[in-house]
């Protein structure tokens, strides 16, 4: 693997770790798939549809999201939002994120 490929692979791993938190946080407001993807991309967390939709499905299976089909502009769209359990999990993940952030800052300062 070339150095560039190595960096890209590590970058991807780093982003992948944050994806679930980003998706859950964004779904504090209701979105359907396309608007969710656009909202994340506008805030610097670009995610391709091939990753997002299976992830949404998985989170829903785990009970963190609720979804509802509605017709809008003559097309059926699946709207997602956080479930009550999803809100709890998001709070816990945010705490974890803040802890990791604080620890990393300490490590980076020492380095």
């Amino acid at each position: 693997m070339t150095p560039t490929e190595n960096i890209d692979s590590l970058r991807l791993e780093l982003r992948r770790g944050c994806l679930i938190l980003a998706v859950l946080a964004q779904l504090r407001a209701e979105h359907y798939g396309y608007t969710l993807r656009k909202a994340l991309a506008d805030q610097g967390m670009a995610i391709d549809e091939g990753t997002l939709y299976p992830l949404l499905r998985r989170l829903e299976t785990q009970g963190l999201l609720e979804s509802e089909w509605r017709e809008e502009n003559k097309r059926n769209k699946r709207f997602y939002r956080l479930s009550p359990r999803g809100k709890d999990v998001l709070e816990q993940l945010l705490d974890e994120w803040n802890n990791i952030n604080a620890s990393l800052n300490l490590i980076l300062q020492e380095a």
Binding site: G33, Y34, D48, E49, G50, T51, R57, K74
Partner: protein, 340 residues
């Protein structure tokens, strides 16, 4: 728009059957939303190249379907190769079974002893197991290598959406086809009714050399009733096409009744006997034995095929019932691609 439909059809063919409709609906909405945004930005409809670009950003249909199949599972053979693996197994199993049947007929025709036949059939599961083991090993090795070397990734990266197969509309059987089937079923019933007076119609050249066995009458009338019921069912399906469950459910029921009849037929031997007063009975005894064995094993083989068909049709019906029961969303509106 037609390119998008072709793409969605290809993805759909590879998706797991559970939630396939939902997945396709979401993907479809995403693709058309992207197209509309781009169209609004450009102020015109998209060209084929621009439509292709949207699809290329999604990825090859295999890659897209794979993401939905591979949700946290770990497999010996990845979902990417699994359909090809199952197909290879089916082909090899069919080949082994056909080879077995042909060998059986040859042994029977050459006067082989029943012990040989029994040994051969007892060896069949072992042969099938070895085929299963080798096909699985070969696919597992190939899957491992392709994952390491990225062969399929490389191949799917070069795909062109314009090469996707064109959609042919799935036509339901035309009413004329159903009428023809009904007419043929009636003709077969007439043939059966005539055959009891004209044995040659039923038994062909064997009627001149051998006599029918003593138990044919036990099968004859049930067979006539079976065909008659089939005619009634086909008539109902023709007159009531809105009864969507009727056709698949009645097909399964008829197949099960067919299996019962075949089971009855397996108990009937001898199917043919040496005619009274035959000049050279020894020759006719051997001929009758060969004919009876061939008919017996043919009926046996058909029974296995029909049993498999019953299981497969039952499984398809179950999936259909499950898919219909998991609705809860509004009837699908066809996505609109706004033309400026």
């Amino acid at each position: 728009m037609e390119l998008f439909d072709r793409y969605l059809k290809c993805v759909g063919a590879l998706l797991p059957s559970a939630h396939k409709g939902d997945i396709l609906e979401e993907l479809s909405d995403d693709i058309y939303s992207q197209a509309e945004d781009k169209q609004a930005e450009l102020g015109r409809t998209l060209t084929m190249d621009e439509q292709s670009a949207i699809l290329k950003s999604l990825g090859h249909p295999i890659q897209v379907a794979l993401r939905y199949r591979n949700l946290g599972q770990r497999q010996l053979i990845s979902p990417l190769l699994y359909p090809a693996y199952v197909f290879a197994l089916k082909v090899m199993f069919a080949f082994i079974c056909i080879a077995q049947i042909i060998t059986t007929i040859v042994i029977v025709a050459s006067g082989g002893n029943p012990g040989q036949l029994i040994t051969m059939f007892l060896n069949l599961p072992r042969a099938l197991f070895f085929v299963f083991a080798w096909v699985t090993i070969l696919f597992a090795v190939f899957d491992y290598l392709q994952a390491k070397m990225g062969w399929i990734q490389e191949w799917s990266g070069k795909w062109n959406p314009a090469d996707l197969p064109v959609i042919r509309a799935d036509k339901p059987p035309h009413a004329i086809q159903k009428v023809v089937q009904l007419v043929m079923a009636v003709a077969f019933l007439v043939y059966l009714l005539l055959a009891q007076h004209l044995p040659y119609l039923f038994f062909g050249p064997a009627a001149a050399m051998l006599d029918p066995g003593p138990s044919w009458h036990l099968l004859y009338w049930p067979l006539v009733a079976f065909v008659a019921v089939g005619i009634v069912i086909q008539s109902v399906a023709l007159l009531r096409p809105v009864w969507r469950w009727f056709a698949p459910a009645s097909e399964i029921a008829m197949n099960i009744i067919g299996l019962v009849l075949l089971r009855l037929a397996l108990k009937l031997p001898p199917y043919f006997v040496v005619p009274h007063g035959a000049v050279d009975p020894t020759k006719f005894v051997k001929m009758a034995a060969i004919v009876n064995q061939s008919i017996f094993w043919s009926i046996f083989g058909i029974s296995i095929g029909l049993a498999i068909a019953v299981l497969l049709d039952g499984w398809k019906l179950f999936l259909k019932i499950r898919a219909d029961a998991s609705g809860g969303r509004p009837a699908s509106a066809r996505p609109t691609y706004k033309m400026l």
